[in-house]
């Protein structure tokens, strides 16, 4: 039985069977024309839809918009940094007189006079101002006033920010540090500027040999001749205590110079 079944199958597979022949005669059914047209149209639309698929314009537009936003943000950050630089430049510009007290700002002449009567470094400052006929108001007032305002605004910002959130605390600390840096830098630059001016003027005085004025200059210790002139003046004035102090300091600074011999040569 099984052998006969296999034979039937083998005959069928070889095409030698009535079943296959009869079935092939049944093949008169076909899909409807409308259905064919529908499927072919769908196939064409799917292919022509490709560009529409590729459009994906929304995604591309979003990426372009995102790029523009990034560019705008970058520009804003750049401008912000530029404004920060400008502020720093202003601070640097106003540094030289920042450390002057408000009293000096308002009455620089009085402050200079007060300094003249003081001793040591303060005397130097006052004497330099007087000797050079320095107009303290002219130098100090315009910039310091602005500088004070900047410093005060910075301090206000820092103080005000200190009462807000933790993030603002950081900003406040940063602002306070900036103020401190400005003040320290101003002190250094002010000192350097004054010393430089003192040295220049002293050298001029020495060159003109006007030692009588030079001894009043607070920077007289920076030059041996002016220092010796001061010692000579104190000797003539009979101011023993100051004379002894000056001689001691001179000997300390110039141990290779004999004061008496130098005074004779002077």
């Amino acid at each position: 039985m099984k052998d006969s079944d296999d034979k039937i199958l083998q005959d069928y597979l070889k095409g030698n069977d009535e079943v296959s022949a009869t079935y092939q005669s049944l093949q008169d059914e076909k899909s409807s024309v409308a259905l064919d047209e529908f499927i072919l149209r769908a196939a064409r639309d799917a292919v022509t839809d490709k560009p529409i698929k590729q459009k994906r314009i929304p995604a591309q537009a979003y990426s372009v918009a995102a790029s523009i936003c990034v560019a705008v943000l970058a520009g804003a950050l750049f401008l912000n940094n530029e404004s920060e630089l400008t502020r720093n430049e202003i601070e640097a510009f106003t540094i030289p007189v920042l450390d002057m007290p408000v009293s000096e700002m308002l009455s620089a002449d009085d402050a200079v006079a007060a300094l003249q009567s003081d001793t040591d470094a303060n005397i130097n400052t006052g004497a330099v101002a007087e000797a050079l006929d320095l107009n303290a108001n002219r130098i100090a007032l315009p910039a310091p006033q602005f500088q004070i305002e900047v410093a005060e605004s910075l301090e206000e910002t820092a103080t005000g920010a200190a009462f807000s959130t933790n993030d603002n605390m950081v900003e406040a600390e940063t602002a306070m540090r900036r103020v401190e840096e400005v003040i320290v830098t101003a002190e250094v630059r002010e000192t350097e500027e004054l010393e430089a001016r003192s040295s220049e003027e002293l050298l001029e005085l020495v060159e003109t040999a006007d030692l009588s004025q030079a001894i009043q200059f607070p920077g007289y210790r920076q030059n041996t001749n002016t220092w010796l002139a001061e010692i000579q003046r104190l000797t003539q004035a009979g101011n023993a205590m100051e004379l002894a102090e000056e001689r001691r300091l001179f000997a300390q600074n110039y141990p290779n110079i004999d004061i008496d011999s130098a005074l004779i040569e002077l």
């Binding site: 039937i8 069977d17 079943v19 009869t22 059914e29 499927i39 072919l40 196939a43 799917a46």
Partner: protein, 201 residues
């Protein structure tokens, strides 16, 4: 079919599909013209309902269109096409069947017009009776058996290709086909015998 001609066929249909995937709609049209009627009859014989057959047939082609970019020239196009058809058919039969789905056109056909002794059939009518009988018997076959038979007759697939399409072993396919052919052959033989008897009478 020699291996060379088989390979050429594979290449041609597969290349047409790839051409369509690249945007050549005329390539799809050529493919469609070639495979449309056998595929349609495959569904019509399986469902026995023209409306349902058209619905499933349309679903196959729409899937082909949709999957055009994923098609790979690894298997024969016909195998790929009928694999989709097989999956759609399996999905359909897994669904709860409605009365409309169950009703088939074949059931409206007289079981055997030649059984009526009052009817005298001409030669052409006899052939038509055979065809009707074959349809009815085909409809009566188990789905698995009728499917492999139709894949052989309509798609022209080999046993290996049928096995690949339905996801069964070659031996299983062979067995199913053997039973299907035997039953159909038997029904035709019986019909022929009846006709002969009727002729003697």
């Amino acid at each position: 079919m020699s291996l060379l001609s088989f390979q050429k066929t594979v290449d041609k249909d597969g290349q047409l599909m790839q051409a369509y995937a690249k945007g050549d709609s005329s390539a799809f049209e050529e493919l469609y013209r070639k495979h449309k009627d056998p595929l349609y009859r495959f569904f019509l014989r399986q469902c026995g309902n023209q409306a349902l057959a058209e619905e499933l047939y349309q679903e196959v082609w729409l899937r082909v269109i949709k999957a055009r970019e994923n098609y790979e020239l690894k298997a024969k196009f016909t195998t790929w096409l009928y694999r989709i058809a097989h999956n759609i058919l399996v999905d359909h039969f897994r669904k709860p069947q409605t009365e409309t789905d169950e009703e088939t056109d074949a059931e409206n056909i007289p079981d055997n017009a030649a059984n009526d002794p009052e009817v005298i059939l001409s030669g052409q009518e006899k052939i038509e009776c055979f065809r009707v009988q074959l349809r009815v018997q085909l409809k009566k076959l188990p789905k698995e058996q009728s499917e492999v038979f139709l894949l052989k007759e309509e798609a022209g697939l080999s046993l290996e290709e049928i096995a690949l399409t339905v996801g069964e072993s070659k031996e299983t396919v062979k067995s199913r086909l053997r039973y299907a052919v035997k039953k159909l052959r038997q029904s035709l033989r019986n019909e022929n015998t009846k006709e002969n008897v009727m002729g003697d009478l």
